[in-house]
């Protein structure tokens, strides 16, 4: 099943949308359009010409060639692909939100501001932090905010010149080191020990004067709770470093532990993971950043909350109105032009409103129960192993390794993944975290049914059986998807790389090498 490109469907003279003519009087008063020759566009962009019918059918068909949580399990580890409740879609796409201009008079958006105000509070309580800014547009954006907070903290304390390093465990998400680098820091990686915890000795050996902070996710990408987190916090704080919490894995501990209680100074959250907003095939997300309001400069009365980015909603007791508070002089400033990504935020608002303390705790419990039930089902399955933290319970996710199968048969994690696609499942995250070879990082969240978890495990076992019978078989997978395995070399080679149809056409015409 394949669908032509939208450009290939174009037929001269077709229209998908009527644009009204300017009113007669308008046209008369204004006369002709006056633009300088330098700037007047002389050829229309070569957009396709289609009827509305064509557009509807084309994109309907494309959706039918895609797969989300609404289709079935998406057990991508660390992505927290939970059910995205439709009621939240209805709320978040209400025209009383869609139609609000970000610079509109505050008096006219009181309902929305109230919701944001509550959301700020709820997120602070969930994380045990003091304040949350809902400004960042994604998890990585929140991380960037966090890193900039660390930078600003040390700047304000006059010690940025020596505070040049951010420490990151080797099991960290790739965004952690990337964010640290964007924040102008050098990244120092520390290893995990066989328990899956940070190697404390290694940590101590790198912590020092130059340590600006440490970024860690807890539970880790191995799904393991960092047992020495309090000690780690002590060590980092002892050199005036800040402890940064990567909130990607919060779904594994809500209601049981809070970053604010573990000694973290800064945390970001992923509303599109933990709080049920959809991922949209890669965004939009929302990545609130939260802080403990520790003192930065007692003399000047600067606290960490003064550094937060973007707008913050406050309630004015006097007028009974909600107001936007812009960033002050010590703030890290703006990370995007206006307020945060309202649609996912309101989605998350609806989710938290409906879950409450009670529901969020249950979310975590079932997410963790699902993980450990799955682990039990995968015990002693030939070809797979679960490295690190032997015998420890996992939280939100678990990382299987297909390393035995790879070594014995040459069947890789990728092959296993394709074998899952053929059974109608999405695949887990593969080859991550980097410290696990042939990793299959699996997160069911609280959404997955026990039947699906069992079927999934069954399929993994079947893949193993097939592989051991005929190791060539898995190399043919997938066969049930709309296309077979993809030529990534051609996709990336400079002479064939094709990021747009325009480039393709130019290449065909020989206008580009």
């Amino acid at each position: 099943w394949s669908e032509p490109l939208i450009f290939e469907l174009s037929v001269k003279g077709r229209r998908g949308f009527l644009v009204p003519e300017p009113e007669k009087e308008v046209k008369e008063k204004v006369g002709s359009i006056k633009l300088s020759e330098d700037m007047a566009r002389t050829t229309d962009p070569d957009l396709p010409e289609l009827s509305e019918v064509d557009v509807m059918r084309h994109f309907t068909r494309l959706t039918e060639m895609a797969y989300g949580v609404d289709n079935g399990p998406v057990p991508l580890g660390s992505c927290t692909m939970k059910y995205n409740p439709r009621i939240a879609w209805e709320v978040a796409s209400d025209h009383r939100i869609l139609g609000l201009h970000p610079l509109q008079d505050e008096d006219t958006v009181q309902g929305l501001l109230e919701m944001i105000y509550e959301m700020q509070k709820w997120l602070a309580n969930i994380t045990g932090m003091d304040y949350c800014s809902l400004h960042p547009a994604a998890g990585a954006h929140g991380e960037l905010a966090g890193i900039l907070l660390i930078r600003k903290y040390h700047e304000l304390k006059g010690q940025i010149d020596k505070k040049t390093e951010i420490i990151v465990p080797d099991s960290a998400h790739g965004t952690n080191p990337a964010s640290a680098a964007m924040g102008g820091f050098k990244v120092v990686e520390i290893p995990s020990n066989s328990d899956g915890n940070v190697d404390l000795e290694a940590l101590k050996s790198v912590v020092g004067e130059s340590t600006a902070g440490l970024m860690i996710t807890n539970p880790s990408t191995l799904g393991l709770f960092e047992e020495n987190i309090l000690e780690i916090a002590r060590i980092i704080h002892s050199v005036d470093g800040l402890l940064y919490y990567d909130g990607a894995n919060l779904n594994g501990i809500m209601g049981y532990a809070r970053p604010g209680d573990m000694g973290f100074d800064i945390a970001h959250l992923n509303v599109h993971k933990t709080f049920g907003a959809p991922h949209g095939g890669g965004g939009p997300g929302a990545g609130p950043v939260c802080i403990k309001d520790r003192v930065v400069d007692a003399e000047k009365n600067i606290r960490l909350s003064d550094l937060l980015p973007g707008y913050y909603v406050i309630y004015d007791e006097k007028t009974g109105k909600y107001r936007l508070k812009g960033p002050g002089e010590n703030s890290i400033g703006f990370l995007k032009a206006f307020f945060g990504n309202i649609t996912p935020l309101i989605w998350g608002y609806t989710y938290i409103l409906m879950m409450g303390n009670e529901g969020l705790r249950k979310v975590t419990e079932l997410a963790v129960l699902n993980t450990n039930y799955f682990i039990k089902l995968m015990e002693n399955v030939k070809g797979y192993e679960i490295p690190y933290g032997k015998g420890r319970f996992r939280k939100h996710e678990v990382v299987l390794s297909a390393q035995p199968m790879t070594e014995e048969l040459g069947v890789t994690a990728e092959d296993v993944a394709k074998g899952l696609l053929d059974a109608g499942f999405y695949a887990p995250t593969i080859y991550f975290p980097l410290i696990v070879k042939e990793a299959l990082m699996t997160e069911f969240t609280e959404t997955e049914t026990i039947e699906n978890i069992e079927k999934y495990a069954e399929r993994l076992k079947e893949i193993s059986r097939i592989a051991y019978q005929d190791p060539k078989e898995p190399k043919k997978w997938p066969v049930n998807t709309s296309v077979g395995r993809i030529d990534l070399i051609k996709a990336n080679h400079p002479s064939t790389v094709t990021p747009t149809w325009r480039l393709h056409l130019k290449r065909v015409k020989g206008e580009i090498k």
Partner: protein, 467 residues
């Protein structure tokens, strides 16, 4: 305890079965490795203000939310307000496609074979945008226009190794500029500002020439600029190119129905916001940062963000799509990545693809013309009541007017309009104190002639009346 609709396994029966299989007697045991000092007791947790504490049904939640939403005021016509994002029509077809779960609830298409439809849609976004911009390489989106500029400037510093200065005029969107500052600060990149022509509102070419030099990695120009004035982006491009800096242009994409595209004025990088193309206003987001470069391997290698590419299957050569050039990205390159961005605005990009497919070749020009006409009509009507433009430069659909001479603050006028159910323009006096009581007004296809006439009548009444 009863089962929750979003947590299928939370029934007593299923929990019991899972616990037994695992070999434990209670869920709590799964959390025993959390040090007691780091744990929160159930009592403490339940005492916090999070939602309403207990789980609510949809109908309870809906009622609570309905009361809040009813406190937002929707204007018809929408506010006469731009400033970087604009009230434009959102076609129901765009909303519908984005509502479909196959796209809405998907993740980044890591598994290509099962996600071809999603990747094709994003590839089509890139390709449609490429035609609009006349650039060959477009990424799958940045967060918004502002962060796209910031990333572009950072990229210019990576591409032009050794150059540590970027040049940004004063007449670019000040909301964007604040973001540029934030992103560039940790890298110690110097930002030099260029003055604007107080009469025309466009960039001061002489000042620009004096500031672009061999230290300059990138120069950013916005057209139409923050005042709505159309810059001569071609002339600026020539000056920038001469100094060997990267030329970054920011565009309000609707204007490209009438104005030369970035690729036609010599831009190396084009940025902008896809918001006007069917995404709605959403009080600040999600929007869609456009990011494109011309075809140059040096530029492509330094691009931030995700890119979907066209390729084939390994066997049979069937057309297929895949995430490409991932070696630039954080999940592969970690601290050496071109940016930390991963989650972007993919769904918004697909929305823009649907929008541009609907508008098509001629629709976009007609839309731009309509915006132009409405705004010029308004400017003409404004001048009839003495509300004159601050700048003389040619404009697209937005212009600044000054209340200087009326003896009223913009705030007063604005409040009176609000009282009459009309939301006026954007006050910019605090952003550009040199302009006095200036405000910026935008007009789109949603502001009909009758609306503009009514607005002018009201303004006349407010400006000349006593009250």
């Amino acid at each position: 305890m009863s089962t929750h609709p979003w947590i299928p396994n939370s029934s007593h029966e299923t929990v019991k079965k899972m616990l037994e299989t695992i070999g434990i007697s209670s869920v709590e045991q799964l959390f025993k490795d959390i040090p007691p000092e780091a744990r929160i007791s159930q009592e403490k947790w339940m005492s916090l203000e999070i939602g309403k504490g207990r789980m609510l049904s949809e109908l309870e939640a809906k009622r609570i939310i309905e009361e809040k939403l009813s406190k937002n005021k929707i204007f018809n016509p929408p506010p006469y307000m731009g400033g970087g994002v604009y009230p434009h029509y959102v076609p129901p077809l765009v909303k519908y496609i984005l509502s479909r779960g196959e796209f809405l609830t998907a993740y980044t298409p890591y598994q290509a074979e099962i996600s071809q439809g999603l990747m094709q849609a994003i590839f089509e976004y890139q390709s449609l945008m490429a035609e609009l911009l006349q650039m060959e390489v477009v990424n799958a989106s940045m967060y918004d226009w502002a962060s796209a500029i910031a990333e572009a400037l950072l990229m210019s510093v990576r591409v032009k190794k050794g150059r540590r200065k970027v040049v940004v005029p004063y007449n670019v969107n000040p909301f964007h500029f604040k973001v540029i500052e934030t992103y560039l600060w940790p890298q110690g990149v110097r930002i030099e500002r260029v003055r604007y022509d107080r009469e025309k509102g466009s960039i001061d070419i002489e000042d620009l020439k004096s500031k672009v030099d061999s230290e300059t990695a990138g120069v950013y120009l916005q057209y139409p600029n923050f005042f709505g004035v159309i810059e001569n982006a071609k002339t600026v491009g020539e000056i920038v190119r001469e100094k060997g800096a990267l030329y970054i242009t920011g565009v309000y994409p609707v204007s490209l129905g009438l104005l030369k595209a970035p690729g036609e004025v010599g831009a190396d990088i084009a940025v902008g916001d896809g918001q006007p193309f069917g995404l709605g206003l959403n009080y600040g987001g999600p929007y869609l940062g456009i990011f494109a470069v011309r075809y140059d391997q040096n530029l492509i290698r330094q691009m931030p963000g995700r890119i979907i590419g066209l390729t084939t299957t390994q066997e049979g050569g069937q057309r297929a799509f895949a995430m490409i050039l991932q070696a630039r990205e954080q999940h592969i390159k970690r601290e050496k990545a071109t940016s930390n961005i991963c989650t972007n605005e993919a769904l918004a990009a697909i929305g823009v693809a649907v929008y541009l497919s609907l508008l098509g070749k001629t629709g976009l020009r007609k839309l731009a013309e309509l915006n132009y006409y409405r705004a010029h009509y308004a400017a003409s009507r404004f001048s009839e009541i003495g509300l004159n433009r601050v700048f003389s430069g040619e404009f697209f659909n937005e212009f600044a007017v000054s209340l200087n001479g009326f003896g009223k603050t913009y705030r007063e006028v604005h409040k009176k309009l609000l009282d009459r159910g009309v939301h006026g323009g954007l006050y910019i006096g605090h952003l550009y104190p040199e302009l006095g009581e200036a405000s910026l007004w935008a007009f789109t296809e949603l502001h009909f002639k009758t609306d503009i006439d009514k607005l002018v009548d009201l303004l006349k009444e407010i400006l000349t009346g006593g009250g």
